[in-house]
């Protein structure tokens, strides 16, 4: 039985901790704003992506479920949080309507749709952030896994799922603000969203959530259940003939992973200030897969790393050489799949492993 926190995890968590402490301090007025304040929210956003990547890796890296629709769970979590934030605006909307969000007012809706009820309470929203994606994943998975839809077919229908949701949320009748989505948030838990302190709070929350996500994922994969998952990933038939109800295991992992994605989305929305159906677009979901592949499938930490690397590259390139951004991203996908089958982290550790005589690095790779 592997330790819960192996070296790889330890290093990453330590680094994450340092970052979490250092960044807010450095950006604070006290430290004379060594780094621009906007970095806090920016990195906070990266952390949410990282958590999302970890969620996907849990399913894909350890159970072979390649979901091309994980963006959907992320977005649903985001919408749940967004609805809470909309309700928080209260009478401060441009029309000063005490209850209805602005977009409902000028499309003259008369009253709040039933599914918006309760979102004025944080605990309820927080619950929904996990329940909605979890439930969707459970129902979807229950159908799909029971009838043994797997591999590419599963991937394609997950894509169909997120695509359908995107179209649905674009419809204004749905009552989620259509293409404009939910925006113009004011505050969360009574704290002003634009305040530096709130930003820092959200940033730290994201970091904690990421750490927690990593540990949970690690705990699952390192447990005896983790071994069953690997068995399912590598030899599904075998696992069945050993008497394991493969669909139950897949369902479990898929649901957990969806809940994680939901949490990531919920933390993401207040930091970027908008949630819109674009988050459901199949392209986004595919990008998530890229993060994981880049970082190293089945390594959790690698997934988080990959997400942050790509996000960083996006931030930089779209600033420096806008026209080249897609070339770079596209090239990245190709190169990684061709020459880094085990991702950046894998390559890194192979490098280290060669330096050190002990094969532990490789061993854990194998186990993970």
């Amino acid at each position: 039985m592997a330790r819960l926190v192996d070296r790889r995890m330890g290093v990453f968590l330590a680094a994450l901790f340092v970052l979490t402490v250092a960044l807010p301090v450095a950006s604070s007025a006290a430290a004379g704003e060594l780094v621009p304040a906007y970095l806090v929210s920016l990195v906070g956003k990266y952390l949410c992506y990282a958590l999302l990547a970890v969620a996907l890796d849990l399913g894909w890296g350890f159970c072979g479920i390649l979901s091309l629709g994980h963006g959907a769970f992320f977005a649903l979590g985001g919408y749940a949080m967004g609805m809470y934030l909309m309700r928080q605006i209260g009478p401060r909307g441009v029309y000063g309507d005490p209850v209805l969000p602005d977009f409902m007012v000028f499309l003259n809706w008369q009253e709040l749709p039933w599914f918006w009820l309760g979102f004025d309470r944080f605990w309820f929203a927080a619950l929904m952030v996990m329940a909605v994606p979890g439930l969707l994943a459970f129902v979807f998975g229950w159908f799909a896994f029971r009838s043994r839809v797997s591999g590419v077919y599963l991937s394609i229908i997950t894509q169909a799922m997120t695509y359908a949701l995107m179209l649905a949320f674009f419809r204004n009748e749905m009552g989620f603000g259509g293409n404009n989505g939910l925006t113009d948030f004011k505050d969360i838990l009574g704290l002003d969203l634009t305040a530096a302190s709130t930003r820092t709070g959200l940033f730290v929350a994201s970091a904690v959530a990421l750490a927690a996500g990593l540990l949970v994922a690690r705990w699952i994969t390192a447990s005896r259940l983790g071994r069953v998952l690997v068995a399912i990933r590598d030899a599904e038939e075998r696992a069945r003939f050993l008497g394991y109800r493969v669909e139950h295991y897949k369902l479990f992992v898929f649901t957990v992973s969806a809940v994680m994605a939901g949490v990531a989305g919920a933390l993401y929305v207040p930091q970027v200030g908008i949630i819109n159906p674009g988050e459901f677009s199949p392209a986004n979901s595919i990008e998530i897969v890229i993060w994981v592949a880049l970082g190293g499938r089945g390594t959790l930490v690698g997934a988080a790393l990959g997400a942050m690397l790509v996000a960083l590259a996006k931030t930089l390139l779209t600033g420096w050489l806008p026209e080249l951004w897609l070339f770079a991203l596209g090239g990245l996908f190709v190169l990684v799949t061709l020459w880094l089958p085990r991702g950046v982290l894998g390559a890194l550790e192979d490098g280290l492993a060669q330096l050190r005589p002990a094969r532990t690095g490789a061993r854990e790779e194998v186990r993970a």
Partner: protein, 545 residues
């Protein structure tokens, strides 16, 4: 004088009334005076507002001057200009030498004109309608059958009672049955707009009821409340509506087929790469896009070099598109996919990367805007089958799609390449044993899929945007089709495409386009539960992912 008598009795634009009153002196005088009136009127065309121009046009039509048709025609086509220098009204003609002007009245050649020295006499929709009806009335007697038919139709559209006697004259002279019917229908519409005796109107209603299409409906509808003939009209309308309902179903089926053909074109290439090779080619959409841009390039070249070739542009573009897309496809296979066999998910990622690169490449080369791809004459317009409109472009695309499908079946079933391909699909090592160069076959297969994507692009360029985003908008649908139909089976793709197309089109009227699409997706998801390998599942090792 019939006109003048009829005048106050008709619901008639005030402008026209004044125009006619204004024309009275001219009408009194013999032909010379008319001619003068004509010239004076033409000279007045450039002046004033559109309403003023309307009056003048009506007046010109009234003169019945032989030159009227030509002048009004020029005005309609926007080739009637006024010379800024001396306000002379001229007809502009664009020749290879440059633009030359002719006097609108005398037809005297005035030589070449510089771009800004003349100004176009503008018309708007209302005037265009007016002009068509006027020209129609004037050309009802034209020797050319087509012209007469067109004329009759435009007179029908105008429903202007002023044309009645012109129509009567034409009818008495007309020999061709089709034209005669058209004339009769036009007359019927006009009659309804007069206060002709009830029997006459009843007859008119009957004629229109017999015609029984949207136009007839439009012509009848306003008279539903007419106390005299209201019942006949409502009955006729109901009848027409009933017939159109029936045709509506046929129309929907056609729309479904047409949509299906587009889906199939987009998906069939995928059915090969994904189905037969088990390779998920996310760049498929971009290969389609390449095909479309090839068409654009070809047309550009033709516009520049040999405009007379334009109608052939698609036929020229098709093989080129196959080469371009196929070539890129083979490059992708050799460069990337080859290294990833047996790792379908990695292939998915790599090809997605390729798709991004291709997109941005096109954006950098051709710019991000839509590009114009024209329809050749034989692909524009539509033909009416009963109450059903079948647009040529979509009809050809359907035919084209079926041909591609048939050709593909032939290649796979009959050709040696097809044989080798199936051999490799079924059992790679065995095929290798038998001395088949599996690598080459893979490359060719992939190239084939890509080439067909290119063909799809040629077709799609006729009905959709040609922009860097073209591919993206089809990739998801294509995958749905392949998965729904069952990978590895062309018939699957066939059934999948047309099935989804028709379902979609029958849903659309009920649910609206957006919800319809969503329902189709949900349906696919549920369907896959029942048949995890699609409609026509292929047994065997081929598609194990």
């Amino acid at each position: 004088m019939k006109i003048v008598l009829a005048l106050p009795l008709r619901p008639f634009p005030a402008a026209l009334l004044t125009a006619l009153v204004l024309m009275l002196p001219a009408l009194m005088l013999p032909s010379a005076g008319r001619a003068a009136g004509f010239e004076e009127l033409v000279a007045r065309l450039p002046e004033g507002s559109y309403s003023d121009r309307a009056e003048v046009i009506e007046a010109i039509a009234r003169t019945g001057d032989p030159r009227a048709a030509e002048v009004l025609g020029a005005l309609l086509e926007g080739s009637l200009h006024v010379r800024k220098a001396d306000g002379r009204v001229v007809i502009i003609e664009k020749t290879d030498a440059g633009t030359v002007a002719f006097d609108a009245l005398t037809g005297e050649a005035l030589g070449a004109v510089a771009g800004r020295s003349t100004e176009k006499i503008k018309v708007n929709n209302r005037l265009r309608g007016m002009l068509r009806s006027a020209i129609g009335a004037l050309s009802l007697m034209s020797p050319d059958r087509e012209t007469r038919l067109m004329a009759a139709q435009s007179v029908f559209a105008s429903g202007d009672p002023a044309n009645i006697e012109a129509l009567d004259a034409a009818l008495s002279a007309e020999s061709d049955r089709e034209v005669a019917t058209a004339l009769a229908e036009a007359r019927a519409v006009a009659i309804l707009n007069t206060d002709a005796p009830v029997e006459e109107k009843r007859a008119a209603v009957a004629i229109l009821r017999a015609r029984g299409d949207a136009a007839a409906q439009a012509a009848l509808a306003p008279h539903a409340s007419d106390p005299a003939i209201g019942n006949e009209v409502t009955a006729a309308l109901a009848e027409i509506e009933r017939v159109r309902q029936m045709w509506g179903v046929a129309q929907n089926v056609w729309y479904g087929l047409s949509l299906g053909s587009v889906l199939m074109l987009a998906a069939i290439g995928l059915a090969i790469t994904f189905g037969v090779m088990g390779v998920i080619n996310m760049a498929h959409g971009e290969l389609v896009m390449l095909g479309a841009y090839t068409t654009f390039a070809v047309q550009e070249a033709i516009r520049g070099a040999a405009p007379w070739l334009f109608d052939w542009s698609l036929l020229i573009a098709a093989p080129l598109a196959v080469l371009v897309a196929g070539g890129v496809g083979i490059a992708i296979e050799r460069g990337i996919v080859r290294h990833l066999y047996g790792r379908p998910l990695e292939t998915l990622l790599a090809t997605w990367g390729v798709s991004l690169i291709l997109q941005q490449a096109v954006r950098t080369i051709f710019g991000p805007n839509n590009r114009e791809v024209g329809n050749p004459s034989w692909m524009s317009g539509s033909l009416e089958i009963g109450q059903m409109t079948v647009t040529w472009s979509r009809l050809w695309i359907l035919i084209f799609a079926l041909c591609v499908f048939a050709a593909l079946l032939l290649v796979l079933r009959r050709s040696f390449f097809g044989l080798q391909m199936r051999a490799v699909t079924q059992n790679r090592p065995m095929a290798a044993e038998m001395g088949i160069d599996t690598g080459r076959i893979d490359a060719l297969t992939f190239g084939l899929g890509a080439g067909i994507a290119g063909l799809a692009g040629v077709a799609l360029s006729q009905i959709d945007n040609v922009s860097p985003n073209l591919g993206q908008s089809y990739i998801v649908d294509s995958f749905m089709v392949v998965v729904f139909g069952g990978a590895g089976n062309l018939w699957g793709a066939f059934a999948g495409a047309f099935g989804l197309g028709i379902v979609n089109k029958f849903l659309e009227p009920w649910t609206g386009a957006v919800l319809g699409k969503i329902l189709v997706l949900v349906f696919i998801i549920l369907f896959i539960q029942k048949r995890p390998r699609g409609l026509f599942a292929l047994r065997g090792r081929a598609v194990e992912a």
